[in-house]
Amino acid sequence: MSVLELKDISGGYGEADILHGVTLTIGEGEIVVVIGPNGAGKSTAMKAVFGLLRLSGGTITLAGEDITGMDPARVVRKGVCYVPQTNNVFSTLTVQENLEMGAYIREDNFKPRIQEIYEMFPPLAEKRKQRAGELSGGQRQMVAMGKALMVEPKILLLDEPTAGLSPIYRKEIFDTVRQINATGIPILMVEQNAKQSLAVADRGYILVDGRNRTQGKGSDLLQDPEIAEMFLGG
């Protein structure tokens, strides 16, 4: 059974729809990547899960339960964690405090989890007392992911985690994505770096103009000549 399913989603922010019947499914333990040109509605589709947009049609189910249009605070409590592309850490809070906020919905002792996160992202352990806003872009991304992982989510949504990062950091982030996935957490990721992201993904979706264009195994998409021409150019 799929963990998260977006079925025939249409909607947008204002009057006009951005999405016209987008369907995405993420199964147990999968890494799924969504790629497409700018303005194709990739990030918008992700925001739909969090009730952050006006839906005009379609349903969203989490492990069989309908969560369409649910308030973000409740979606988080259901175990869906989302790392936005920008503005994804509390920049005036310290690294440690960011992780604590990530665990806000947990009532139990989350101290051991913080240790695990520091083991997963060693650079953060050294900077735990530093304000998140003072860190480099790559480290901030780590804080954002670490914060999301504090609740041991059922599924993790990443919105362009490598946007604006240097190639070295990009590789590191993709390695981390794989590492997180190895602990059994399914991941849905929106990406611009089609080549690298398809390489780590189990499956990929290609959205164009708010509609599903193609989908398939990551490795198959990588070899598809049409797709290569469209997105993989360099």
């Binding site: 605070a73 850490v89 990530g102």
Partner: protein, 296 residues
């Protein structure tokens, strides 16, 4: 010595009162994203409730202050629920208009209940200062005001730095959107903000009353210096607001010291303008404040 007795010490006392008010302004501005014009009126309400409790129980105003803080918090929560909550997702300018109206309503409510006469907590007794080191004049009430203010600021510091709700308040002030995506119950944070803001405002009102007297316009006259202090410190930066309060208080008092020649640098009648001048200069020079608060 005259400088210390008549300018520096009153400046520090006034500064701590402004600081308490400014913390609340800054927290509300940072978390609810609007300039609450009715914040001075929370001070007014707190001071008058304390006056009634003081009359009723015969205890020292500081002894009944905690109860007044609780009552003022309830009033603030009620105002938020009735008048501000319907606008949670509207443009902030509408909320400012609403808060402008709330300020007038709150003040006229005080004027209806308690009248417009001036009250005093000291019931006619005039306190004599303690003279130290052959000339340093210290009033006990000033010692109380400053030490209680410091105590309250330490409380705020503890809450904001070490408690879950306090950290959530800072987080929401940082980014309300991310706070929601993190699963923080934003309405709970809003309530906590009003409780802290109203409690501090009540305390500030009582301290101001202890320092001089109570009158129904005191809240309005506090508005400008409190906002100046909050902006000086950087919106959403409670520690900045503390420093900002002190700076504004000192600047107001020191502005009338005869720095050049024998006459005051600025006639004391224009003291209230100092806060405004500081605020405008700060907004033009560095809108994020001394402590890099949020810029809207």
């Amino acid at each position: 010595m005259e400088f210390i007795n008549f300018y520096l010490l009153p400046g520090i006392v006034l500064g701590s009162i402004y600081a308490l008010g400014a913390i609340g302004v800054s927290l509300v501005f940072g978390i609810l994203r609007f300039a609450n014009f009715a914040h001075g009126e929370l001070m007014l309400i707190g001071a008058y409730i304390t006056y009634s409790l003081f009359q009723f129980t015969g205890l020292h105003p500081l002894a009944v202050l905690p109860l007044a803080m609780v009552l003022t918090s309830f009033i603030a929560l009620g105002i938020d629920h009735t008048f501000y909550k319907p606008f949670r997702n509207s443009k902030t300018t509408i909320v400012i208009v609403a808060s402008f109206g709330i300020a007038l309503m709150a003040r006229s409510a005080v004027q209806i209940i308690w009248g417009v006469d001036t009250f005093s907590y000291s019931s006619g007794r005039i306190e004599m200062p303690i003279v130290l080191f052959g000339g340093l004049r210290i009033f006990m009430k000033h010692v109380w005001i400053v030490s209680c203010s410091i105590g309250l600021m330490l409380c705020i510091h503890t809450i904001l730095s070490y408690t879950r709700i306090g950290k959530a308040m800072r987080a929401m002030s940082d980014s309300a959107e991310l706070a929601r995506l993190t699963g923080i119950e934003t309405e709970k944070v809003v309530r906590a903000t009003w409780i802290l803001g109203a409690s501090l405002a009540a305390a500030a009102g009582v301290f101001l009353g202890l320092d001089s007297h109570l009158h129904s316009m005191m809240g309005f006259y506090m508005l400008l210096p409190m906002f100046a202090a909050a902006i000086l410190g950087g919106i959403g930066q409670p520690y900045g607001a503390m420093v900002g309060g002190l700076v504004v208080g000192l600047a107001e008092e020191l502005s009338s010291y005869p720095w050049l020649g024998d006459s005051p640098l600025l006639p004391p009648a224009y003291k209230a303008g100092v806060a405004f001048a500081l605020m405008v200069l700060m907004l033009l020079w560095r809108p994020s404040g001394l402590f890099r608060g949020r810029v809207f």
